[in-house]
């Protein structure tokens, strides 16, 4: 991933922790209560833990797998009390999230950074693509980079106007067309303009689309091919924006967007609510797709790099 976050992210981790702490008070505190109440590990305790994982949208399959691993340890008498059990659960989820390469924020790409660096932002309707782009642009601008936004959502009413507001807020440039125009043409114009002005980054907004609509998915492919013709290797990142309230359908979304759009990472949005976003555990386990950023609110600053430890901690500590 492009080095969007150069500085140490300590304060940002706190932000995630803060915003997810509301989340914590719901499920995780539940888990906390569950284990602190008793010392012994009873079958009832396991059932309640199972339900807590399910309630976090981790899904029946992944929950079953995690609990199976825990049960095996139990049978080998490796876990003596409820605290051990909690630690084991935590490490099992961390293990799942860590088996995919972590997103390199701020370290990689230093040697041969493509210019402009092209990021596509995709996802189903209403997950927060445009807001996420605004936040990404803000981070990049804070880092002193020049940003071009491509208003590729020519379908939804006033999507272009919405992105234009973000461009003005963040000091990014926006390339747009009429509503109803060809999104691939917008990509062409934006990349052409970015090359001419030697911009650092181009972020392409796309219309929300259900992953089951093959014609709309084909449109994404056309946008990608257009990008590659102007900037070889583009798009360099394709981010799938997913709403933390998403249930098991998230797996289907990730699978389809990976297959047809070549998604490279997930941005998990709206984690400031009570939803836990546990579906990303299932997605990482089944598809090996990493989470790269987390959205925690509506302000420009509310986007932080994903940190597995923090994510799991906010669920269980």
């Amino acid at each position: 991933m492009f080095p969007i976050f150069k500085k140490s992210e300590g304060s940002l981790l706190d932000r995630l922790k803060q915003s997810v702490s509301k989340t914590r008070s719901q499920i995780a505190a539940k888990v906390e209560d569950l284990v602190s109440g008793e010392k012994k590990i009873s079958p009832e305790l396991l059932t309640r833990l199972e339900n807590a994982l399910l309630a976090a949208d981790i899904g029946p399959k992944t929950t079953h797998q995690i609990l199976e691993a825990v049960r095996q340890k139990l049978e080998r008498h490796a876990l003596n009390n409820a605290a051990d059990l909690k630690a084991e659960l935590r490490s099992q989820i961390l293990y799942v999230l860590r088996t995919v390469p972590a997103a390199p924020n701020g370290s990689s790409g230093a040697t041969q950074e493509p210019r402009p660096h092209v990021i596509f932002v995709v996802g189903v309707n209403g997950t927060g693509k445009t807001t996420t782009i605004g936040k990404l642009a803000h981070r990049l601008r804070q880092d002193g980079r020049s940003v071009v936004l491509a208003a590729g959502d020519t379908f939804r009413a006033a999507a272009i106007e919405q992105l234009a507001v973000w461009a003005a807020r963040t000091g990014a440039e926006i390339i747009k067309t009429k509503s109803g125009g060809d999104p691939a043409a917008v990509v062409y114009d934006a990349l052409f303009a970015a090359c001419a002005r030697k911009a650092d980054v181009v972020i392409v907004d796309t219309a929300g689309r259900l992953h089951t609509k093959s014609n709309l998915m084909a449109e994404l492919d056309k946008m990608k091919r257009t990008a590659a013709r102007i900037v070889p290797g583009a798009p360099h990142d394709i981010l799938l924006v997913m709403d933390a309230t998403t249930g098991q359908n998230g797996l289907s979304q990730a699978r389809e967007f990976m297959a047809t759009a070549g998604v490279t990472g997930i941005v998990l949005t709206k984690l400031d609510g009570t939803a836990k976003g546990g579906i990303v555990v299932a997605i990482t386990r089944e598809l090996g797709l990493p989470v790269q950023y987390v959205g925690t609110g509506e302000a420009m600053e509310d986007l932080v790099p994903f940190d597995a430890e923090t994510f799991v901690s906010s669920l269980f500590d």
């Binding site: 997950t127 379908f155 999507a159 106007e161 919405q162 089951t212 309230t245 098991q248 939803a275």
Partner: protein, 447 residues
């Protein structure tokens, strides 16, 4: 929409088939499968467990004595329980004295503004004069979005210029509605988190001041376990009168409908099924339950077919069928009518996955462009050719292929399909004469 849940339950029931009576083992086996299916379908874990407890009790209780096969018994019990949860089909509410205010609320990104547009279109189609207004003063370009939506569907939008106070904007709209005789005002609101105290309070104020006839909670069909919390909190604060379930045209199983029904008791009144503004259907709980259980949403499909198929045309077609006069012209009409019903995937998705239709793959991809090519081929024929396919010889085929930008092979294929269909129609015609296959026949005959 509910395909996967349907598949799972069907698999569970297949295992039960051929057993004599329900034993505890059978029931527990089936329930474990049903639980997983419900969870995979995003039914809240608490709701699912409660549901299963009821089902288990009933399955093991007195009803075991009923002379039904085990799968019939469980299907019946599960169906009854799900139906109980979703409640009865509910009609939209209007104030006794117009104008009626409908307040549209929900989380960010659930589809409130699009739904507002769809509802306005639905109301206009049902003899109302809706006025839409956006009170979303927070999200960039949100109000502009509703203005554009209203323009696209041809309804009036109150722009609320000159103020950024939601209540003032809404009051302005009500004044305007009274002046220009609008009978329903759709008040679109900003997306908000149910734990955002300030914004939830704003909604309470809107409710208090506007006394809406409907407070509709717009929920994304893809929402997971958290649905019970968000919907529950909106309900606690506002007293929801109905739910609109959006994005059901995807492959989400929509178990959230059950969760939301459980925690709010508010009925689902509409479902959103596509990007176009007329893609809004009435919600019939019994049909959805039938669909979950593998009986398909045939009724809903028939309703749609009836809406699309011109009654006169249908009568004319029936006359022709009896006399075996089904021409290429009629063939083209049929194609057009099918295409009017919406994307083929959606139409096929509503059919039951049983009987003769059991073998249609669930993710069948229908190439819409092929339908277009067929139509182009028929368009390239002369009227006399269309009325008498026997005229079309090799030379004419070549001309038709050139005219439609296709190949002779494709023309041949279309003619073959037409003849096959004619044959089918003949059979259907004799059935129809006997009074069977009402409504659905139009469809199976044409597909």
């Amino acid at each position: 929409m509910f395909e996967n849940l349907t598949d799972k339950l069907q698999r569970v029931f297949k295992n039960l088939r051929g057993q004599g009576k329900l034993t505890q083992e059978h029931v527990d086996g089936a329930l474990a499968g049903i639980r997983e299916a419900l969870l995979e379908g995003d039914v809240n874990v608490g709701v699912a467990d409660e549901l299963l407890a009821h089902i288990r009790e009933k399955a093991l209780g007195s009803e075991v004595l009923l002379q039904l096969s085990p799968d019939q018994q469980i299907i019946k019990i599960v169906r009854d329980e799900l139906a109980l949860l979703l409640g009865k089909h509910a009609k939209p509410l209007f104030a006794s004295r117009p104008p009626s205010v409908w307040l549209i609320v929900g989380l960010q990104g659930s589809g409130k503004t699009t739904t507002t547009g769809k509802l306005a279109k639905w109301l206009a189609a049902h003899g109302h004069r809706p006025l839409v207004v956006s009170t979303d003063v927070y999200r960039p370009a949100a109000r502009e979005q509703l203005i554009q939506v209203a323009k696209a569907i041809g309804v009036v939008c109150w722009p609320g210029a000159g103020t950024d106070k939601p209540l003032e904007i809404a009051r302005g709209a009500i004044r305007e509605a009274k002046l220009s005789a609008h009978d329903v005002i759709l008040v679109d609101t900003a997306g908000r988190l149910h734990i955002d105290d300030t914004l939830m309070e704003e909604l309470s104020t809107l409710k208090r001041e506007l006394t809406p006839a409907e407070i509709l909670f717009v929920a994304d069909a893809m929402i997971g376990q958290d649905a019970v919390r968000s919907a529950g909190e909106f309900h606690r604060r506002l007293g929801l009168t109905g739910v609109v379930l959006t994005k059901l045209d995807g492959d989400a199983r929509g178990g959230a409908a059950l969760s939301i029904g459980k925690v709010t008791g508010a009925p689902v009144k509409f479902v959103g099924t596509g990007e176009k503004y007329d893609a809004l259907d009435a919600f019939y709980p019994d049909r959805i339950v039938s669909r979950v259980l593998g009986m398909g949403d045939v009724l809903s499909l028939i309703e749609r077919a009836e809406h699309t198929v011109d009654a006169k045309q249908a009568a004319e077609l029936e006359r022709k069928l009896r006399r075996s006069e089904f021409t290429l012209e009629d063939f083209r009409d049929q194609l057009r009518q099918i295409r009017k019903m919406g994307p083929m995937e959606q139409v096929l998705g509503m059919l039951p996955k049983i009987g003769p239709l059991a073998n249609i793959p669930k993710d069948v991809q229908v190439d819409e462009s092929r339908l277009q090519r067929i139509e182009a081929i028929i368009n390239s024929m002369t009227t006399s050719e269309r009325n008498d396919h026997g005229l079309i010889d090799g030379k004419r085929r070549k001309r038709i292929a050139r005219g439609s930008g296709t190949s002779v092979q494709e023309v041949n294929q279309v003619l073959k399909q037409y003849l096959q269909m004619r044959q089918m129609m003949k059979q259907y015609g004799s059935l129809a004469a006997k009074g069977r296959l009402k409504g659905l026949g139009k469809l199976t005959g044409a597909s």
